[in-house]
């Protein structure tokens, strides 16, 4: 494997405008990607995993130059041309054509990806003719060769897509991407709508094709077992942020980021004797529209620390609930002063002291310091720390627990408060 970069992405940010109509004043944006930087190496398969809404497909669209509004820059190092795609400047038509010749995509749903009014041979030949690479004669020869490579027969060239099964359609889609001899192929969930036995066939085909044509893959999936099977490196996305990136083997043998750990432990293993354990359900109302401050994952994180970006309103609710559960206090009044501090009004000074004792006794409230004055407890939170990707062994991890800069400023890593 050659370890040159084929594509390097630098600080890619994408946000979608969600304004309902041009008349509405309020500006609502969906932050699909927030400063994503990564390299795709020549000859590797990079798996991109994450939940829905994490920005996987947006990343694919950006790499293919299909988005209009985005920020950052992408450098492509194809064998004959280097292309730079910078959001500051519009790409030339010739550059775009070259990019689209050298890269291609296979979509999730093979039923909507193929034009049902065209014959298979026309579907496969269309990108070839469209890029003006040759005439009908050549395209037909190439189609015949490719249709055999993807495991179909020449007879299938005369079929319409609705005469084919899902697996066969996905084979046709793969053949179509190959006709311009691309260097980079992006697979956007290629097997998630297929059956188990067909999925195995397509995965084998995808890996075989890679050997034959010496391709580079970016493989988007939410199925971690599939990602593990196909990929060399893995990228974990969460709400448009890179959480962890590194060799697949080592991520699976020892995930570092709490989110990666959560993902990997959620995979049901097809073995007998697999048992599920109860897990605290922590569905937070987090999405790309109202991104939480600090680390994006902290509201759901099982080991979140006080540095992770808590808001005073969230913590106040937690303290009042805990005071009810632990001390039986029903009439504890709360009031937020600003983002990072709040005040609790207890009925008398004695209860205020016991509330304060409860707060200082446990780390999981994520309160930096608290004071009692008469019957008022005032609490201050730690300023949120936005973690940066830092190198840990062979991986990059985006978590305050592994943040070198945090360590330098504070002397130590934050204590892990398992809850």
């Amino acid at each position: 494997m050659v370890t040159d970069e084929l594509v390097s992405l630098d600080e890619i940010s994408v946000r979608y405008d969600l304004r309902g109509s041009s008349l509405s004043r309020s500006k609502i944006y969906l932050n699909a990607l927030n400063g994503v930087s990564l390299n795709i190496l020549k000859g590797e398969t990079l798996a991109v995993v994450g939940e829905s809404g994490s920005g996987k497909s947006t990343l694919a669209m950006t790499v293919l130059g299909l988005l209009r509004h985005w920020k950052g820059s992408i450098a492509y190092h194809f064998s004959r041309h280097d292309i730079l795609n910078n959001s500051e400047r519009k790409m030339k038509r010739s550059e775009l054509r070259e990019l689209w010749k050298r890269s291609s995509i296979v979509f999730q749903d093979p039923y909507s990806a193929l034009d049902s009014k065209k014959l298979v041979k026309d579907i496969i030949a269309e990108p070839y003719l469209g890029h003006g690479k040759g005439g009908r004669q050549e395209s037909e020869e190439r189609s015949k060769e490719l249709i055999r490579q993807v495991g179909l027969t020449e007879d299938h060239l005369g079929f319409y897509p609705d005469q084919l099964s899902g697996g066969q359609r996905q084979r046709v889609a793969i053949a179509r991407t190959l006709i311009n001899e691309p260097e980079l192929i992006i697979f956007d969930e290629p097997t998630s709508s297929l059956d188990v036995s067909i999925q195995a066939q397509i995965l084998n085909l995808i890996l075989d094709i890679k050997e034959i044509h010496s391709l580079t893959y970016m493989f988007i999936t939410h199925n971690l077992v599939v990602a593990k099977h196909v990929s060399d490196r893995m990228l974990v996305l969460y709400l448009g942020n890179v959480m962890e990136i590194g060799p697949t083997e080592s991520i699976f043998s020892g995930p570092l980021h709490p989110y990666t750990k959560l993902l990997i432990s959620s995979i049901p293993v097809p073995k007998s004797g697999y048992e599920m354990t109860q897990r605290e359900s922590r569905e937070a109302d987090v999405n790309s529209v109202n991104l939480p401050g600090g680390c994006a994952f902290h509201p759901r994180c099982p080991v979140a620390t006080k540095y992770c970006g808590w808001k005073s309103s969230e913590v106040m609710k937690l303290v009042i609930r805990e005071a009810y559960l632990m001390l039986g206090l029903e009439n504890l009044q709360g009031e937020t002063a600003d983002e990072l501090s709040f005040r609790l009004t207890a009925p008398d000074a004695e209860t205020a002291v016991s509330v304060n004792r409860m707060i200082t006794g446990r780390d999981s409230f994520r309160i930096e310091r608290s004071e009692v004055k008469e019957n008022i407890v005032s609490c201050t939170l730690h300023a949120p720390w936005t973690p940066r990707l830092s190198q840990v062994g062979d991986r990059l991890v985006n978590c305050v627990l592994f943040d070198e800069e945090f360590k330098m400023q504070n002397g130590v890593s934050p204590p892990r408060s398992g809850r």
Binding site: E51, S52, S165, G167, D195, V196, S197, I198, Q199, A200, Q201, L203, N204, L207, H222, N223, L224, V225, V226, K228, H229, E249, L262, L263, S266, I267, P268, V269, P270, K271, S272, G273, Y274, E275, M276, Q278, R279, S281, E283, D285
Partner: protein, 473 residues
């Protein structure tokens, strides 16, 4: 067959399907979706049904629910025994097969649906189903509470009595239950209830109870109040309720978009009780912020939350059987884990039998007690889940297991079953799997293998029938 049926009762089967055949009548011919299916569902278990698309697993589920699209397909023969009632004859009385051979159609008999409703009565409500796509199965025009209320009110009688008792009696375990029984009139009510639902059923009826820390005397007072309430209900209020709710279509309660009224300000006591119950249901399925969810529209919820609402809807009537048709395929892996855990705890705590349909073998390992593998409309292997993964018998089962990427070991190349699921209109002769099988023998293409018991499982394959080739001709 009679021997098998006798055995079935002994094991406590809640549903047993015998020789079921379901055909679809299409423009290009008759598709045999289910061909002679035999399946027993044991009370209290989670039965996993695995198979590729076109294997008939969803069609079987829809047939049991009588949800096959009208006029396109129907039961040709066989029986579905549920609580002593044969669902197959009831359902198939709705239509008849008509037309020349090769161009047959289903003719729906007039007033059929209403007649089925009448025959089925309550037993229809004892099976509920969760579908794959939660967005498609919730009505986008109504708030969550209206939809929950519809489901609860449909089953009004049992719900009301159970509910009012529940509200006022605080019983949590069997032991407390017996200590309370000293009050005679309470005993009557409770015996009646347990007679109606069975002891386990009664236990289920009073499951949703939180407040346990009250004294014995307080409990008795509450019981007294409960009985009074039920009595009052059984006279005037019950009549009013019935006249208000009943309608000829069988839809008792029409959902409407109420103003977002706090629950304690709802005027009608019955609706208020039902609302409180729906809130409890949502809390039971682990919905964070249940009160807000109650008044949201489905599009305001995330996929996992929608699926939780679906689960709440499905358990609202305390079903005996819950059919879950790929309930987590549309969900993320972390949400999937939580929904699976929820379904499993419903099975373990409430004793609801679950038929779990999936093609994900990992999910199967997490959920199922027993696994049935389906191929081309037949169950080819059925047995305990543990044996399934360690020692697959049918070549199709072992092929499926080998074709999923393994989590803990890396194989260079996945095994793949050659070919694809056959066209249901033109099925291969003999065993339908023989063109794809790697252990195919001469007999496979000639005759359908009969089911045999082998190593704790029931398998349909000639490999385990050696020397019996022409025994039963």
């Amino acid at each position: 067959m009679s021997v098998a049926a006798g055995k079935a009762v002994e094991r406590g089967n809640v549903l047993s399907i015998r020789d079921l055949e379901v055909d679809f009548f299409t423009a290009r011919g008759r598709a045999h979706a289910v061909r002679g299916l035999n399946l027993d569902v044991v009370r209290g278990e989670i039965l996993g049904v695995v198979g590729e698309s076109g294997s008939g697993k969803s069609v079987t589920a829809l047939t049991v629910m009588d949800l096959l699209p009208p006029g396109t397909g129907g039961i040709i023969s066989g029986s579905i025994d549920f609580g002593g009632k044969d669902l197959a004859t009831v359902y198939s009385s709705k239509y008849r097969v008509a037309g020349r051979k090769g161009k047959q159609k289903l003719r729906i008999k007039p007033f059929a649906a209403r007649r089925v409703e009448k025959i089925m009565g309550r037993s229809r409500k004892r099976i509920s189903m969760i579908f794959q796509d939660p967005m498609a199965s919730l009505d986008p025009l109504y708030q969550v509470d209206s939809q929950l209320l519809e489901s609860i009110m449909y089953n009004n009688e049992a719900f009301m009595i159970g509910k009012c008792l529940e509200k006022n009696i605080i019983i949590d375990s069997q032991s407390e239950f017996t200590s309370v029984l000293q009050d005679k009139s309470t005993a009557d009510i409770l015996t009646w209830l347990s007679g109606r639902f069975g002891e386990a059923g009664f236990h289920r009826e009073v499951f949703f109870i939180h407040n346990m820390s009250i004294s014995e005397s307080e409990k008795k007072i509450k019981i007294r109040r409960a009985i009074d309430f039920t009595k009052r209900l059984s006279s005037s209020e019950r009549v009013r309720l019935k006249s208000r709710l009943s309608s000829r279509t069988g839809r008792f309660f029409r959902p409407n978009n109420r103003k977002r009224l706090p629950i304690n300000r709802i005027h009608d006591p019955v609706v208020r009780e039902a609302m409180l119950f729906s809130l409890e249901l949502l809390e039971f399925v682990g919905m964070p912020n249940a009160e807000n969810v109650l008044t949201s529209y489905p599009h305001e919820l995330s996929g996992g939350m929608k699926q939780r609402v679906m689960v709440a809807l499905a358990v609202a009537n305390d079903p005996e059987i819950l059919i879950a048709d790929e309930p987590t395929t549309a969900l993320d892996v972390t949400t999937q884990y939580q929904v699976l855990y929820l379904l499993k705890s419903i099975n373990r705590k409430l004793g609801t039998t679950i038929i779990f349909i999936t093609h994900d073998l990992g999910v199967m390992a997490a959920m199922a007690d027993r696994i049935a593998v389906m191929y081309a409309g037949r169950v080819v292997e059925v047995g305990p889940a543990g044996r399934f993964f360690n020692d697959p018998l049918h070549p199709y089962t072992s092929g499926l297991l080998r074709s999923v990427p393994q989590y803990d070991e890396r194989v260079k190349k996945l095994y793949n079953i050659p070919g694809q699921v056959p066209d249901l209109r033109r099925l291969p002769t003999g065993c339908a799997f023989h063109p794809r099988c790697d252990k195919v023998m001469g007999i496979c293409s000639e005759k359908l293998p009969r089911a045999t018991d082998f190593r704790e499982r029931r398998v349909e394959c000639w490999l385990y029938l050696e020397g019996e080739d022409d025994g039963d001709r």
